[in-house]
Every structure is written in structure tokens, then in C-alpha cells.
């Protein structure tokens, strides 16, 4: 026993003293060689990596949000799709996307980057990736941060196409979107392209990330068609409720936390950067968005819809994404509140014109992105625009429509490019392999038809209100030769 106590005491002593000795040694060495610039760069790099992690964590938010808004029979396909998209998106962006987005394009630089394929951290980063040469953090950190954004944009696409899309469609479109479509618009606005030159303001990607995702989603959904049972005989939309609202709200909260990396992290540096101010505007807007959507829900339906409140937060976060570094805190509240209202109205309109968007991604990310990008042209303060180094003050400060016009031009061109290219890709897929699963598979649920297992235990998988979690009724038991 004595021996055991003695041994334990020695181990504790060793554990307690070793790090101190090691750190003491390091401090002595570091103090002798490090400069203020080295420490500053290290802090910036840590900040960018942490921000990239937060943005990557948003995939968990999308997973929970989509799972919550799906029926039980489809939840396994949702998470499988998220994982597959992360895998494909990461590699496609590494192979080509990062080069198209931030590489030097020579004479074609206003349109697209053409250097730096198969991203190599050892390359001369500033020359090859001229679009990101304004920040000194290592190329790997830049890549990881940007690829996390591409993955977010890709995740938005699939929110509208839930519960009826073939798994192969996810895989193929993910490669094209992350490898070419998304990076092209990134280059226009962030990578030194023609919209950068015009002074478009989109600090963290209301247009680049969210509007692009929503436009691709709209293109896909138009070709895909609504879920079976979404519209009745007269074309009136029917509610297909998700199966787990707490999971959906957990998804919203994870996304909200992820936005702490999304917007403040877009400074791509920590030392001297206003990331705390950006975090403040971001969170104020999100809070106002919840209130805006809840208010609309109460006015329209006389109850407070939890799903709508969550979408209100997301729409506001999307909207403030462009403006977060350009506006004062009071303006962020206005932007967020209006975003919640715009999202609600759009969601109802989209439903009525026959576009089945289970998650409300077109309303939250599409209209939220448009409103947020335009809001820069209204609320951007001249001082903040100058300190960021993009564009000029908005209409309410300068009386000039110039910035608002640039913002509108960016929305139209980026939206049109993404919609047209995405529509073309989805059209080719529809004409070759088809976009949606067979009706029988859709009614049985994608978990069993596409992945061979249920997301939940089979006994727990509930039929939806229309009783569709089963195969079509046995035709032999029905009247042959007529309606009935």
C-alpha cells in the first residue's frame, strides 16, 4: 500500500511539473526568436482555423434542421447526403474550386481564376492566389475557411430537394457546384473579379454563399417537382410536417453558433480586426429576425410557429452576412427584423406557386440573401465602408444610389449565372439518370430504398398523415377499369 501511495505521489508530481518545465524552455527559446509579427500571424491563423471549424460545424446544424423537417422515413438519407457532400465538396474545391475562386486569372481575371489547381500549400500563395493575398495567414488556413463556405452553400441546395431526390444526383451536382459554379461567383465578388472592381459589398456571402445556394436549389426544385401529396387535386398546398421540431430548432441554434465563425471569421485576421463588432451586429440581427418571423406568424395565423421562428433567425443571419461589417448595430436590428418578415411572406408565396421547399431554404437563404445584399446599399456607413475597403456608404448616408445599384447588379448577375448553370446541370441529369426516385421508393421512404436501412428503428417509423410510408396499395384489390 505504501509503495502504491509513493508511486502515485511521484506520478502526480511528474505530471504537475513536466509541462511547466517544458513551457519554461519554450518560452526562453521563443522569446529569443519571435517577433511581434510572428505572434500576430499566429493569432490570426488560430482565429481563422477556429472560425473555419465553426463554419464546418454548421453542417451539423443543417443535418439536424433537415432531419427535423423531414419525415421519419427519410432521415437516414439526409445525414448520408450531408456526409457525401462534405466528402465530394472538399475534394472538388481542392482540385479546382479554390483555383477558380481565388487564383490569378491573367487577362480573364475579371471573370475567373485560372491558377492554383490541386491547391498546394507550398506554392507561392500570394502570386498564385492573388484574390486572397490581402491576408497573411497560411494558404491552408485560407483554403479550409473558404471550403467550409462552399460546403454551406452546397448544403442549402439540398434543403429544398429533400425526400424525393436520387442519391446519385447529390453526388454529381456536388462536384460541379463546388468545383465550378460556386467558385465562379466567388471570384467575381471576393476573388478580384469584375464585381470586386465595381465595389460590391458582400462581406461574408449573402450573395456568394446563400443566394447561390438558393438559386441552385430553385433550379433543381423546378425540375424535380413537388413531393407526392404536397398539393391536392385543386393544386392547393398541403402541410407535410416534419417529425421532430426540437431537432430542427437544435439545427437552427447550431447554425446560429456557426455564424460566429461565418461573419466575424471573414475578417481572416484577428489582430486589429473588428470581429467583435461584427459578432455584435450578427447576433442582434438574428434576434430581430426571430421576432420578425414570430410577429408575422402571429398576425397571419394567430399562433407562434416554431419552425417559422427558426427560419426567421436563419433569414436574418443570412441577410446580415453581407452587411455585418458595414452597418451600425441599430441598422442590423432593422435588417434582421425585415428579413424575418420577408422570409415569411416569401415562404407562403413559394408554396402557393407550386414550388415544394420543405425547409424554406429559398425563402430564408434566397430572399434573405437578396435583402441582405441590398441592405448594404441602404445602411452601409461611409466610415465602415472605407475601413473595410469595399464600395461606399449606402443611400441613407450618402443620398447616392450608386452602391444600391452595384448591389442590385451583383444580385441579378450572380443569381442568373447560378440559376442558369445549375438548371443546365440538373436538366442533363434529369434527361440521363433522372432526378427523383420511383414513386414506390418515395412513398416507402428514401432510407430503405436508397440506403437499405431505416434512420430510426423500423418499429418507430411512423406513417405520415396521408399514410404514405408504405408501398402503393395492392392493385389487385382495387376496381379495374375506371376511376374510384
Amino acid at each position: 500500500m505504501k509503495r502504491f501511495v509513493l508511486l502515485s505521489a511521484m506520478v502526480v508530481l511528474l505530471v504537475a511539473t513536466t509541462p511547466g518545465l517544458a513551457l519554461a524552455g519554450d518560452t526562453a527559446t521563443t522569446a529569443g526568436t519571435s517577433t511581434i509579427e510572428d505572434v500576430s500571424l499566429a493569432v490570426d491563423t488560430v482565429w481563422v482555423i477556429v472560425a473555419a471549424l465553426l463554419v464546418l460545424f454548421m453542417q451539423a446544424g443543417f443535418a439536424m434542421l433537415e432531419v427535423g423537417f423531414s419525415r421519419m422515413k427519410n432521415v437516414g438519407s439526409v445525414v448520408a447526403k450531408i456526409l457525401a457532400n462534405m466528402g465530394i465538396g472538399l475534394i472538388a474545391y481542392w482540385v479546382a474550386g479554390f483555383a477558380f475562386a481565388f487564383g490569378d486569372g491573367g487577362s480573364l481575371n475579371p471573370l475567373i481564376g485560372l491558377q492554383g489547381f490541386f491547391t498546394d500549400p507550398g506554392a507561392d500563395a500570394n502570386a498564385t492566389f492573388a484574390g486572397l493575398s490581402w491576408t497573411a495567414v497560411p494558404l491552408s488556413a485560407k483554403f479550409l475557411f473558404q471550403v467550409a463556405f462552399a460546403l454551406v452553400s452546397l448544403a442549402i441546395v439540398w434543403g429544398t430537394m429533400l425526400e424525393r431526390t436520387k442519391f446519385a444526383v447529390y453526388l454529381i451536382f456536388a462536384a460541379v457546384f463546388a468545383g465550378f459554379i460556386y467558385p465562379t461567383v466567388s471570384h467575381w465578388i471576393w476573388g478580384g473579379g469584375w464585381l470586386t472592381d465595381l465595389g460590391m459589398q458582400d462581406f461574408a456571402g449573402s450573395t456568394v454563399v446563400h443566394l447561390q445556394g438558393a438559386m441552385a436549389a430553385l433550379a433543381g426544385t423546378l425540375l424535380l417537382g413537388p413531393r407526392i401529396g404536397k398539393y391536392d387535386e385543386a393544386g392547393r398546398p398541403q402541410t407535410i410536417p416534419g417529425h421532430n421540431m426540437p431537432l430542427a430548432v437544435l439545427g437552427v441554434l447550431i447554425l446560429w453558433i456557426g455564424w460566429w465563425g461565418f461573419n466575424p471569421g471573414s475578417t481572416l485576421s484577428a489582430v486589429g480586426a473588428p470581429f467583435a463588432d461584427i459578432a455584435l451586429t450578427t447576433n442582434l440581427a438574428a434576434g430581430a429576425g426571430v421576432l420578425g418571423a414570430m410577429a408575422m406568424s402571429y398576425v397571419y395565423r394567430r399562433n407562434v410557429d416554431v419552425g417559422m421562428a427558426g427560419n426567421g433567425a436563419i433569414a436574418a443571419l443570412v441577410a446580415i452576412t453581407a452587411a455585418c461589417a458595414f452597418v451600425d448595430p441599430w441598422a442590423s436590428i432593422v435588417i434582421g427584423f425585415v428579413a424575418g418578415i420577408v422570409m415569411y411572406v416569401t415562404l407562403l408565396s413559394v408554396d402557393r406557386i407550386g414550388v415544394d421547399d420543405p425547409l424554406g431554404a429559398i425563402a430564408a437563404h434566397g430572399m434573405g440573401g437578396i435583402w441582405g445584399t441590398l441592405s448594404c446599399g441602404l445602411f452601409a456607413t461611409p466610415a465602415l465602408a472605407e475601413s473595410v475597403g469595399a464600395g461606399q456608404g449606402g443611400l441613407f448616408y450618402t443620398g447616392s444610389f450608386y452602391q444600391l445599384g452595384i448591389q442590385a447588379l451583383g444580385i441579378v448577375t450572380a443569381g442568373a449565372f447560378t440559376f442558369i448553370t445549375s438548371y443546365a446541370v440538373f436538366a442533363v441529369l434529369k434527361a440521363t439518370i433522372g432526378l427523383r426516385v420511383k414513386p414506390e421508393e418515395e412513398l416507402n421512404g428514401l432510407d430503405i430504398s436508397e440506403h437499405g436501412v431505416f434512420g430510426y428503428a423500423e418499429q418507430l417509423v411512423a406513417t405520415d398523415p396521408n399514410g404514405s410510408a408504405r408501398t402503393l396499395p395492392d392493385p389487385l384489390e382495387r376496381t379495374i377499369g375506371g376511376t374510384g
Partner: protein, 94 residues
Amino acid sequence: MEQRPIAQGTGTGNNVLSVYSDRVELSSGFPGQNTTSVGLKQIANVSIQGWVNCTLTIEINDGRRLNLERMALPDARQIKAVIERQKRMAGLHE
């Protein structure tokens, strides 16, 4: 034992077309509230129009036409091929 369709496709408006060994069923409404069943013998012609949003048309001997709009081309082709194959196998072609 439940008979499973040989081929299936979805069109707009909850329309689902299922091809069985002896007939074609068009279910509309949800879930399959209205069903039109046509024996393969009654089918005169099957045609496809379009590439991306296809329209599958089944012409019936009594003059009716069943249209399934905004279909995917592979689904429409498969349905057409299955109907023609089944008719051939049953010796139903004129």
C-alpha cells in the same frame, strides 16, 4: 402476394403511372385516390415528347389519351419500353 409494378414514373399533380404485366394504372390524387386502369390490349400507342420535362402519352383504343407531364426522360423511356415489351410478349401487337 402483392403484385409490384414493373415500371413506374411520376408526373405533375401527384400522377403516378405504374406498369404491370397485364395493364397500366394511372393513380392521381393522394394517395392514389383516383385510379384509371387500362389493359395492355387496349393500348394503341405510347409516345414521348421532349427531353428534359417529357410528356408521356398513352393512346387508348377507345380514343382516350393518358398524359403524364414533366417526367424524367429515363422514366418515360422505361415505361414505354416495358409496355411495348409486354405487348410483344403477349402477342398483343397487331
